[in-house]
Symmetry: D2
Subunit: 261 residues, 4 copies
Amino acid sequence: DLPFALIAGPCQLETREHALQIAEALATACARLGIPFIFKASFDKANRTSLNAPRGPGLAAGLEILAALRDRIGCPVLTDVHEPAQCAPVAEVADILQIPAFLCRQTDLLLAAGRSGRAVQVKKGQFLAPGDMAHVAAKIASTGNDRILLCERGASFGYNMLVSDMRALPIMAETGWPVVFDATHSVQFPGGAGGASGGDRRFVAPLARAALAVGCAALFIETHPDPESAPSDGPNMVPLDQMPALLARLKEYDRLTKGAV
Amino acid sequence: DLPFALIAGPCQLETREHALQIAEALATACARLGIPFIFKASFDKANRTSLNAPRGPGLAAGLEILAALRDRIGCPVLTDVHEPAQCAPVAEVADILQIPAFLCRQTDLLLAAGRSGRAVQVKKGQFLAPGDMAHVAAKIASTGNDRILLCERGASFGYNMLVSDMRALPIMAETGWPVVFDATHSVQFPGGAGGASGGDRRFVAPLARAALAVGCAALFIETHPDPESAPSDGPNMVPLDQMPALLARLKEYDRLTKGAV
Amino acid sequence: DLPFALIAGPCQLETREHALQIAEALATACARLGIPFIFKASFDKANRTSLNAPRGPGLAAGLEILAALRDRIGCPVLTDVHEPAQCAPVAEVADILQIPAFLCRQTDLLLAAGRSGRAVQVKKGQFLAPGDMAHVAAKIASTGNDRILLCERGASFGYNMLVSDMRALPIMAETGWPVVFDATHSVQFPGGAGGASGGDRRFVAPLARAALAVGCAALFIETHPDPESAPSDGPNMVPLDQMPALLARLKEYDRLTKGAV
Amino acid sequence: DLPFALIAGPCQLETREHALQIAEALATACARLGIPFIFKASFDKANRTSLNAPRGPGLAAGLEILAALRDRIGCPVLTDVHEPAQCAPVAEVADILQIPAFLCRQTDLLLAAGRSGRAVQVKKGQFLAPGDMAHVAAKIASTGNDRILLCERGASFGYNMLVSDMRALPIMAETGWPVVFDATHSVQFPGGAGGASGGDRRFVAPLARAALAVGCAALFIETHPDPESAPSDGPNMVPLDQMPALLARLKEYDRLTKGAV
């Protein structure tokens, strides 16, 4: 009966002001719509295509920004972890620890995240069948953690291209864990822009609508006040000023799907 | 402003009574919902996996059934053509000639169908990028025919598996022709059942909802009073008695999408 | 103990002189190497990406060229058929009837080709698992025809890209029929050049070596004196003057593989 | 002019005796054939499908076995690293640090491995286009390390299936770094056996021949005295007693390819 939750923010943290500006805009829009809002940003993009691409402020500075934002805006925050040792310090600030797609099979990272006491969201690897996420979730659940989110973000489809298989949502839901659809990375063209990933943001809205029509617990959407100047994932981020209208529209699909259950 | 049209029927024609039973049930359900209904059935399954699989009644007997049904029910009918020479006789009965996916690049068939004076629906080949359907449509349009339908039915995804790329709907819509989503063949596992194709009808409803949320002009759904006994595509056909509830539900998604345009 | 056979020629027939020039050069090179040579060319490219692309001289004129070439050079010839009715006239001239990949599941065409009394080569559909070719071969064999060739030419891999799965060769060989590797179309980028298919001929030689190392009965290679001016498949054709050296090299791999059996 | 190098061993370390038995057999076979031999085994399978699957002896015990083996057999050893902090201790024993496929984009791990002073082999991610490995190699090379190996191990092809694109070998070779073909993991069916990965060892030999026919610097083959009892990758490992004959055969293809360059 709840509307979908929104996990949103810029791809990577830039400055504190930048993060606050985005979080404030999203929190306001979500409050108006009754959509639970979780701020998302990465302190370290640990797997950029190219060595020279900006990675973000790093763990300490990043957590400081997230903590400030959490205080100021009052919303839960989600951020990625890349190594088991990051889980404990990140868990002091973040409400949800996110396991990146490439790392979704790293047992130690899953266990450390599970043991952190925080909720854990796992992105499904581009190389993984949806049914195989049951094994991934079981690793986390073995720690006693029962707040697990499974996130679809596209499957490898030839080279430099992903495809969103909407069947993945009900298949992953069979695990009993809430399923999230990442409408931003699903429209990525990995490595498709030479030394960086390309993407096509025109498909964010239709794929998000499709996911809500199929049924999912939350949406993950990256946004930026000026995507063209973003240090990563610019081509597939939604401009911040388009988010309120998009969310209002998406809520209708969610209500239709969930009203009928 | 119109709701989506429904192209539906059994995969292949069996008897006249069987066809009438299905058409009547669908026509009634669609009339109640204000959904334009086009009856679909094949007189010849010309590309079965196995030689010994039943193919249907053939051209002459099949057209007789379709003509009777058209008279009795008053609905337009759609059926497949496999060779240029079939287009003229089929066009005497059928309102829409359908080009099967494997044949979507056969220039002579496309031209003959275009010249028949009837509307032409082309299934997108499992091997084709959505943008390449513009060239397919241009072949038909070169005959002066301006009633063309482009139909998504899944793309090859490894062996014995298809995936529905929802981006294909808006990409094909850029041609200006109406786009149809085939929710039945999209959930096929081609050759996945040994000497026959398998499938999973559980995904028909969610994928149809997704397609309407993305936006399409029509849905294509195969149905049968007793799918388990159907001579083809049984595993992915919707039981006939479930169609009215499914259609009522689907109409809500369509209204949401088109109300907003 | 025989070396591989070579099926080679231009993609489509241009003029009689052009065909003779190519056939002569290939026959000479093959004779020198003890490689059985079959001339290949299409009289009609029935499934070009774009309507405006040249299709070839047509059935009557094409068969005339093939007959002349067969007389003059003394080599067997292979050409495509696209409809059942073409099989009988084509069989009067061609030694091998080829079923194009998109048509590999069309039962009537397979049966008509089987009944023609000529050998039949079927290209594996880009959408087909290698094991499913057993059903395709069974359709032809049901006519009593026992000269069947199964040809690998790449599997759909995302959009506008094929991949050569070398496992397909031994899997298809389990049927007992000779297996052919098409090194030309395997390196095609279907629709990858906008209104035409692209390709990358740099990979013809390595993939042909790989196929012979895995083991196959014949190679299929398209060639042209001036690929850049060819009406189709130019980007993936081998320049004619490079064929003798390529064949000499390929023969060594074949000998290595077959010497050990 | 050198023959290919062989990187081989069991998938994961079991006991010291077990490792020595395998290394001895392989070293003897390779010495006879003049093939440089590098022993490979993992001390920790950090990304098993299922939590309950055995992972190996761990870092300390594993390095002890590898050190003993290196002393006794005199061959270089290769083992995986999963986190930056493992690189320094592993580099005290291992001659080559291997970056697993799922981790091939983790910048910190690549840099730590590069700085270790040891050679670094990177498996190409199942989700990566071959050309994108240039960026991966550049990360390692930025540390001043100039002993980099790039390894093909199959690309995602639908769900639970990989395909070996032989074009990847020359494409990766354009970087200038030696290219390795992993014939064992290329025939894996990831997650294809429910809670574990399946595979089909029948294709190891043909794909290895194909890779040498295309051209590569080294082969990677996992082997076990009794694959059925192996704790991981059993279905795709070659029985140890079949290795000498396989290597002798493979050497012929390598000689043919490199003799001609």
